[in-house]
């Protein structure tokens, strides 16, 4: 049975920048893979990552946790999804695949049914944004019209708050936000190098005055440490 935390994502009832819903689908179907890969690329570039929940159907703007068919559910495995993600993202987007069941009350409210769900939990990228490593077309027999492109090689995908969809990064504001987060991560690594003395100048190494021991004697006398 799914944990309460994961059940919250299923029952949340609307898509967010960090939650994407998909109805029951088979990983064996190429369309499924295409629908999911764009979401994974976008969530990997989202602050704190996010989840793709498979088994929630949208009808007239309402998201219903209907669960997955047994064969669709069984078609998902970490290895299969990972192979596809590895092939299409650079650096490879990090994710976990959670397959489990949850008890859902019937629409009529009379009974409870056990439903199957797959949750792909995507982690935020480490220092560099995740990019699509190659162009993938919805229909390989048709030309590279923009409407036929699922993901474009070299493009960066995001899930902006305004539209809540996984799409290519479009404007300088979105770039600025993404680059700021990358910069902070890189700065953090550089700071660690400084702390480990790797790039510290001799002047900076000059010991600073530190009367900690004397202060601590006062605290010891007062039995505060």
């Amino acid at each position: 049975m799914l944990s309460n935390g994961l059940q919250q994502y299923i029952l949340h009832g609307q898509e967010e920048t960090n939650i994407e819903y998909k109805e029951s689908m088979s990983w064996g179907d190429n369309k499924t893979r295409l629908k999911i890969i764009r979401g994974i690329l976008a969530l990997a570039n989202h602050a704190n990552g996010g989840v793709i929940v498979v088994g929630v159907k949208e009808r007239d703007g309402i998201f219903e946790p209907r669960g997955m068919t047994k064969s669709d559910y069984n078609s998902f495995s970490y290895d299969k999804v990972a192979a596809f993600v590895k092939n299409n993202s650079e650096p490879m987007a990090r994710f976990k695949l959670i397959r489990d069941t949850m008890l859902i009350r019937n629409k009529s409210g009379n009974g409870i049914q056990e439903k199957r769900f797959c949750i792909i939990q995507v982690a935020e990228s480490r220092e560099l944004p995740v990019i699509a490593s190659k162009t993938v077309l919805y229909d390989t027999s048709r030309p590279h019209y923009s409407s036929n492109i699922c993901i474009r090689g070299g493009a960066v995908y995001i899930r902006p708050e305004a539209t809540i969809e996984s799409r290519e990064i479009l404007n300088q504001e979105e770039w600025r936000e993404l680059l700021y987060r990358c910069m902070e991560k890189i700065k953090d690594r550089a700071r660690k190098l400084v702390e480990t003395d790797a790039i510290m100048s001799p002047q900076e190494k000059k010991p600073k005055r530190n009367d900690e021991a004397q202060f601590n004697r006062v605290l010891k006398k007062d039995r505060l440490i």
């Binding site: 944990s3 919250q8 996010g50 935020e124 005055r209 004397q214 202060f215 505060l224 440490i225």
Partner: protein, 243 residues
């Protein structure tokens, strides 16, 4: 007051020390001046001010060269004690409120939400509480530094005790955690962060220093890839009193 400190140390606790790098016995002229400095520089960003001053007794003279205040509020699960010396040293013990305010039922639900399994008596630490408390402590230190009470260089020491197997969580918020982040320090080992910074550095960069220290603390729970910009925004809300 040592009974209160012993009580605080029975569960998870914070120890915060702010002091000048250089020891000068009577850096602050009197205990009255110590009292005034605390009152005038108290950080008032949320309902509970930093440092807290007892509503009944206020700040008391607790020795020949120091003042102090405490809070022993059982119902609210809030236990604090601080002392401020004329040498400029401030020491503050606080109980981790998570150990008092989360019922067993809350703990079970929290364990479930962070996918923490096979733990009989889980203990938790609120991520946002860490950010807020550390931010308040550094801000308070910056205000003391600005009044020239910490000399040219100041030291800020933040210690978290009884953290063995303690797990991070977001209190009352739906935020994703990729893993259950649990402190794997040996039992009895405390998390200790020490920062020594110039007066100017502290006054101008107290928020950034607090944010870095917070992230450093979170790393000790195994959370290595914290998104700094998210917490920078949370911190900004606190500092701008937009909570």
């Amino acid at each position: 007051m040592n009974e209160l400190i012993d009580k605080i140390k029975q569960n998870g606790y914070w120890k915060i020390v702010i002091r000048p790098a250089e020891f000068i016995e009577n850096r602050i002229s009197s205990r009255e001046e110590c009292k005034r400095l605390i009152e005038e520089n108290q950080i008032r960003l949320r309902g509970w001010y930093y440092p807290h001053i007892d509503g009944n007794k206020g700040i008391v003279f607790s020795g020949n060269d120091n003042v102090s205040s405490s809070c022993n509020w059982e119902e609210g699960g809030t236990f604090e004690y601080w002392k401020f010396y004329q040498n400029g040293q401030f020491i503050h013990y606080l109980g981790m409120i998570e150990d008092y305010r989360l019922s067993d039922k809350d703990k079970r639900a929290t364990a479930d939400s962070v996918r923490l399994t096979n733990v009989d008596s889980p203990t938790f630490l609120s991520i946002i509480n860490v950010l807020y408390l550390v931010t308040e402590a550094f801000y308070f230190a910056a205000k003391l530094a600005k009044k020239d009470m910490l000399g040219e260089d100041a030291q800020i020491e933040i210690e978290l005790g009884n953290v063995y197997k303690r797990t991070l969580f977001f209190w009352g918020e739906v935020r994703l955690l990729f893993n259950p982040y649990t402190c794997e320090f040996d039992s009895g080992e405390n998390i200790v962060k020490k920062v020594q910074v110039s007066k100017t550095g502290l006054v101008e960069n107290h928020a950034a220093l607090a944010l870095d220290t917070t992230i450093d603390i979170l790393k000790d729970f195994g959370w290595y890839d914290v998104n700094k910009s998210i917490f920078a925004e949370d911190q900004k809300k606190l500092l701008e009193r937009r909570l």
